[in-house]
Every structure is written in C-alpha cells, then in structure tokens.
C-alpha cells in the first residue's frame, strides 16, 4: 500500500480512538467536576447512583439522550441544529497533532500548533450560529458576548504562544516538547512565566470557563447561547466545552510544562497527570470566583494581556537575538 493510504487509515483509526477518548473523558470530567464542586462546597457531590456516585455521568448521559429535541417555533432549523454539531466536530481534529508520548500521536505534522489554534477557533462560529439560529434574545446576547470575548482573547493567546515558537524555532508540538528537558526547571514555564499566565488566562476565556463564562452566564442570560437547546443539542455543546478544556490543558502542558517529559522515564504517564492537574485547577477556579463583568473582561484583554504579551514577545526576541 502506498504511504498516503496508510496515512489515511492511520488518521481514521486515530479519529476513532480520539472520539472514544473524548467521550470517555467527558464522562470522567463530568464526574470529576461534580465531585470537585461538591467537596469545595462542603457536600459529597453525587452519591446515590453507584458507589460514590460513579454511575452518575452515565445516568446524565442517558437522560440527555432520552430528551426530546425541541426546535423553537421561530428558529432557523438548519442553523439551529448545525451549531451543536459544528461546535463538537472540529474538536476531534485538535487532538490529531497532540503527542501524548514520544511516539504516541496520530499525525506527524510540523505545524501542529497552527492546526490546533485554527480548528479551536471554529467554536466561535458554532456558538454564533446557535445564538442567531435560536431566535431568542438571551441566546443572541450570549452569542454577541462570545464573539467579542473570543476575538479579544485569541490575540493574547497567539501572542503568548509566539515566544515559545521563537525559543524552539518549530511549530511541531513534539519538537517543542523535546526541546524542554526532563527536569521541571528546564520547562518553558520557568523561561516564560508571563506567557504561561497569559496563556492559561486566555485558555479559561476561550473555553468559556468561569470566571469568564459570560456567553452562558446563567444568572444573567438564563443560559446564554444554549438557552433553547434540549437533550443532546445541549449535550454536544457541553461535550465540546469539556473537550476544549482538555485541548487547552494539553496545549498548556505541552508548551509550558514539558508535555510527556519528566524525570526517570518520559512518556504519556507524565503527560496525563499534568493535563488532569490543569483541569483540576480550572475547576477549582470555576467554583471559587465570581463572574467578571463584560467590559471588565474585555478591558483585561485589550489593556493588560495584549500589551503584556507584546512586551513579553519583544523581550524574548531581544534576548534571543542578543544571545545568538
């Protein structure tokens, strides 16, 4: 067989594995989030369905699957139902270039960073369609918020990735990981602490996680862009949110925390705990802080994060050119 055919087979198999991984992960994360929230709030979290409530996510999934799919009477049915699919589909692609270990990845691509950033940007479009197609004023407001937020935070996100790319001179995530050493002090988080903070803040905003969950702020916009969605329409948005969380946490781990690098034996067993550690931090933040206001959110991006990341980029460029 030719190499192209092999590659295609490999990508299809990879996508299949990724989708199963994503679904399993969503279930794990739902359980984890509810348990973390419970323990932060002085209650045990789900406890009834199965021992310590471990079957709760399955019960949730069955409930969501069993719900009737309702299309609001004035909604644009095509856009309305395209949105959740569009929100979830690109996520799978984001996993293709992510190396979980030295040899564990689906697609050897030397522009992995660009691929992930490009495809994760599609989510905005989906949420915009959901807001517009629903014919609901709250959804529309949620979509408007989402667009402004994504545009505002995509820029510092990219600008905080740039110094890493300049340090390694590569867009390949595996090369970036390999350039970081085995020991924690060799990771980029210590060379680029500012970029790390900016990246993680932007990641929170891009995934619409609290305290930046403005597009779906339930106390303000009832449920924001997914107000009208029932059953798996909502379920897909939910899954895509959790999957984007994994994507951005993997990105953070790869770019700043050495990815699969670690003392003794590098491998996926270093990568997965890092990703889950970051996910736990995201949950911790969500259940601790109040929500920021919309103008404050944009102010943080345009007045602080973008200038700071630009300065960081300039400083990095200066240091690199002076050292070489």
């Amino acid at each position: 067989m030719s190499e192209i055919t092999l590659n295609i087979i490999r990508i299809w198999a990879g996508l299949f594995i990724i989708l199963s991984f994503v679904s399993v992960n969503a279930i794990v994360l739902v359980y984890l989030e509810r348990k973390v929230a419970g323990h932060i709030q002085r209650r045990p979290g789900p406890f009834e369905v199965g021992p310590h409530g471990i079957l709760q996510p399955f019960a949730d999934a069955v409930k969501l699957l069993g719900k009737q799919l309702i299309t609001p009477c004035y909604a644009d049915a095509i856009l309305y139902w395209a949105a959740p699919i569009l929100s979830f589909a690109p996520v799978a692609v984001c996993f293709l270039p992510i190396p979980a270990g030295p040899d564990t990845r689906v697609m050897d691509i030397n522009v992995g960073v660009i691929l992930i950033l490009a495809f994760s940007g599609l989510n905005v479009l989906a949420l915009c369609l959901a807001g517009w197609g629903s014919q609901n004023k709250w959804s529309l407001l949620g979509a408007a918020r989402n667009i402004a937020q994504s545009v505002g935070y995509e820029i510092p996100l990219l600008l905080s990735v740039m110094p890493i790319l300049m340090l390694t001179g590569s867009l390949d995530l595996n090369t970036i990981t390999q350039n970081q050493g085995v020991w924690p002090w060799e990771w980029y988080v210590f060379k680029q602490p500012l970029a790390f903070i900016i990246f993680f803040v932007c990641a929170l905003a891009e995934t619409n996680r609290a305290p930046f969950d403005l597009p779906e702020a339930e106390s303000e916009l009832t449920a924001g862009f997914h107000t009208e969605y029932s059953g798996m329409g909502f379920g897909l948005f939910f899954m895509s949110e959790y999957t984007y969380m994994i994507v951005v946490c993997s990105m953070t781990a790869l770019l700043f925390l050495g990815g699969w690098q670690g003392p003794l034996a590098p491998g996926w067993w270093w990568f997965v705990p890092k990703v889950y550690g970051l996910l736990l931090i995201m949950m911790w933040i969500r259940w601790t802080f109040p929500r920021v206001r919309f103008d404050q959110l944009l102010n943080v991006s345009w007045k602080w994060l973008i200038p700071a990341s630009l300065l960081n980029l300039l400083a990095t460029a200066l240091v690199i050119s002076l050292c070489s």
Partner: protein, 388 residues
C-alpha cells in the same frame, strides 16, 4: 435586529409587552427579564429596553404572586390571620409577625411580659441573621459565584434547627401571639444559641477573606448602583438600602419598640450608596444582631410569656393604629383599622421591598445588564412581599 425583535412578535405577548413605550430610538431591543429568570428570585418581571448590553430603560412588572394578603385580613379574625404574616416575607417572617401582633397590642392597649419581649428580640434577630445569610448566598450566586450559597445554607441550617425548637417550623416561623409568645425558650435553645454565636463569629473572618475581599467581587459591586439620599427619601426606601446611602435610619433606633433601648448595638451606616455599601451594611448587621442576642441572653428575665387574660378571639376597640418594626429588608409596617368587631376592618401591609424596588428603574438606566442584576440583588427583594 427586526428579525428577532419587534416584528414577528407584534401583537403577541401580554398587556405590558404590547403597551411598553420604548424610547424613540430605532436600534434598541426590548427584553423581558423574568418572570422566569434565574436572578429575579421568584417571579419578578423587569421589562428592559437595551442598546447592546446597556440598559436604556427598566420597568418592573409586579403582581405575579399577588395573594390578596390584605383582603384576607379583612375576612379572618386576628389569630386566624396571624400565620399569614409569615408568608408575606418568608425570609424574615418573625418581623412581619411582630409588626402585626405589635399593631394589635397597640390597638388593645396591651402590655407584653418582659420575658416575651426578650424572646421576641432573640428570635427576631436570629431570623434576621438567617435572612441576611440567604441574601448573601443568593447575591453572590447572581454575581456568578456558586460556592458561597452552600456555605450560607450550612450556617442557615443551624439557625433553622435552633428556631425549629421554639417555633416548630423551619421557614415560615410563627411564634408571636397577641399578648406574648406561643412558646418559651428551653435550656437547649439557649445553649445552642450561645454556641451558634461563637460559631458564627468564627465564620465571618473567613467570609471576609474569601468573598468580601475578593478582587473580582469588589470590581462587580464597587460604584455600582449608586443611590443618593434624595432618591431614598423620594421613594420611601428603608433598611440596609438607606443606611448604605448615608441615612441613619433604623426603626430599632428611630422609633424604639419593645426593649431594644436596653441593648448596645451599632447601626452601620455608609455614605457611598453603592452595592458594596449595601453589602457591607448587611454583613455588619449580622454581627450586630449577634451582639444583641448575646446581651439579651445575659439579661433574660424570668416570668410569664403571655399577658394575663388575653381573649381567645381578640376584639380590639375601634380605632386606627400603625406599628413598624425593622425587618431584614427595612421598615416592616402594619396599619390596622378596627371597627370593634373580631375581624379587622382594614389591614394595610407596608412592605420595604416594594419601596426599595421603586428605586430600581432610576438606578438601572445606563448600566450594563450584568450590573442591573447586581443592583437588583443588592436591593434584596422578596417578591411575595412586593406583591403581597
């Protein structure tokens, strides 16, 4: 915008949506916040005209839980009507209880035994703490912080346990009776109350560190929804809302009732009038309530809890009387008109939430949607009390 807004829905909706008079601007959106909205705490409805996320005009629509409380008062005799008072404001029912029995006692010229006055003060202040705690939790929920409400409810649970011992219920307490109280405090109640005071005092520093001093919270409440003294006076606002605007008006001080004049306590007053000031006033009021309870428990006299010879079916002489007490949300007043029969001729309930809500349209104009929710929450409205 016409696609989603005013064209396809023309002629639909109810009286208020059809007759809402927008400003002459073309590019605005009319939005119904409520009656089913997570942050209107029940069934308050606010019609908003918004430009982007900026509110141009806000108009509350009330009456969704109108239960004819005042009319009921004209059909039932005094003791039959009394438990209804707990349903007017389900978060601070004892204040309403007190306002009604106080008015009836005034009408009948009745003297309440001293121990009963102390029981009333202790339970009413405990109830005030539970009311403020619930406000604290739900307000932060409005601001997007999920966790504090569960901490508030855990504390409130202790209060519900304590008050359940004496009142027999956990939400709509009804303890006071014309001429005294229905039940006396037992040793366990007193011990648990003392323990609660210690416990609650140990909680406040944590709440201050975790919530009050949180930067995001500060940014969400500082300078939001400023109310001037003049506006407060104009709309007859009361309670923490006016004390946050620099008016030192607390019914417990201004028109002392019961034995409040025997206790040392402060009425926290702030000058700023913003949501933060209202927040801080309520947080400090909880501490002051603890102080009052502590003193009351120390001074607690022995004796009867009911005045002698209280008729089963009170028949006050003809006359008109008004009695006000300080509730969790402000001045809770009951105006009773009696024609000498066992049934009141007229009962007028003066609810603080109604007056405080009247402030909302004037302060919500020009703010962001998220701020409007913050303001609405900071006014601490109870919808059944508004509609009665």
């Amino acid at each position: 915008m016409s696609l989603i807004g005013n064209d396809i829905l023309a002629g639909k909706g109810d009286f208020y949506s059809r007759n809402f008079q927008p400003t002459p601007r073309e590019d605005t959106l009319i939005l119904n916040m409520g009656p089913q909205h997570p942050s209107t705490h029940g069934v308050l409805r606010v019609m908003l005209e918004i430009d982007g996320e900026y509110i141009i005009r806000a108009e509350p629509v009330i009456g969704y839980v109108h239960r004819m409380q005042e009319k009921m008062g004209e059909r039932l005799d005094y003791n039959q009507y009394l438990p209804n008072m707990a349903r007017v404001d389900y978060l601070h029912p004892l204040a309403w209880n007190w306002a009604f029995v106080g008015a009836a006692e005034k009408l009948m010229g009745m003297q309440v035994p001293e121990r009963a006055e102390y029981i009333r003060i202790i339970t009413c202040e405990l109830n005030r703490i539970s009311s403020h705690l619930l406000w604290w939790g739900t307000y932060l929920l409005d601001l997007g912080a999920f966790t504090p409400i569960l901490y508030a409810f855990a504390d409130r649970e202790k209060l519900a346990d304590i008050l359940q011992r004496i009142t027999g219920s956990r939400l709509t307490f009804s303890l006071y009776q014309i001429g005294g109280c229905k039940a006396d405090m037992d040793d366990r109640f007193i011990r648990e109350t003392k323990e609660f005071i210690e416990y609650m005092r140990s909680r406040f520093p944590m709440y201050k560190d975790l919530v009050t001093d949180n930067l995001i919270l500060r940014k969400r409440v500082e300078g939001i929804g400023g109310i001037t003294r003049e506006e407060c006076r104009k709309y007859g606002a009361s309670g923490p809302v006016v004390r946050a605007s620099g008016i030192d008006y607390d019914v417990r001080r201004a028109e002392p009732y019961s034995v409040y004049d025997r206790f040392e306590f402060d009425c926290p007053v702030y000058e700023d009038g913003d949501a933060l000031a209202r927040y801080l006033v309520r947080m400090q009021e909880m501490e002051q309530s603890l102080k009052i309870i502590e003193q009351a428990l120390k001074q607690l006299p022995d004796g009867e809890i009911m005045a002698p010879k209280v008729p089963k079916k009170p028949k006050p002489p003809a006359g008109e009387v008004y009695h006000a007490v300080e509730g969790g949300r402000g001045k809770v007043g009951v105006c009773l008109i009696s024609d000498g029969s066992p049934v009141p001729y007229r009962v007028k309930l003066r609810s603080p939430s109604y007056s405080n809500l009247s402030l909302f349209p004037s302060i919500a104009g020009g703010t962001l949607l998220a701020d409007a929710i913050s303001i609405l929450g900071s006014l601490d409205l109870i919808v059944p009390e508004i509609d009665r």
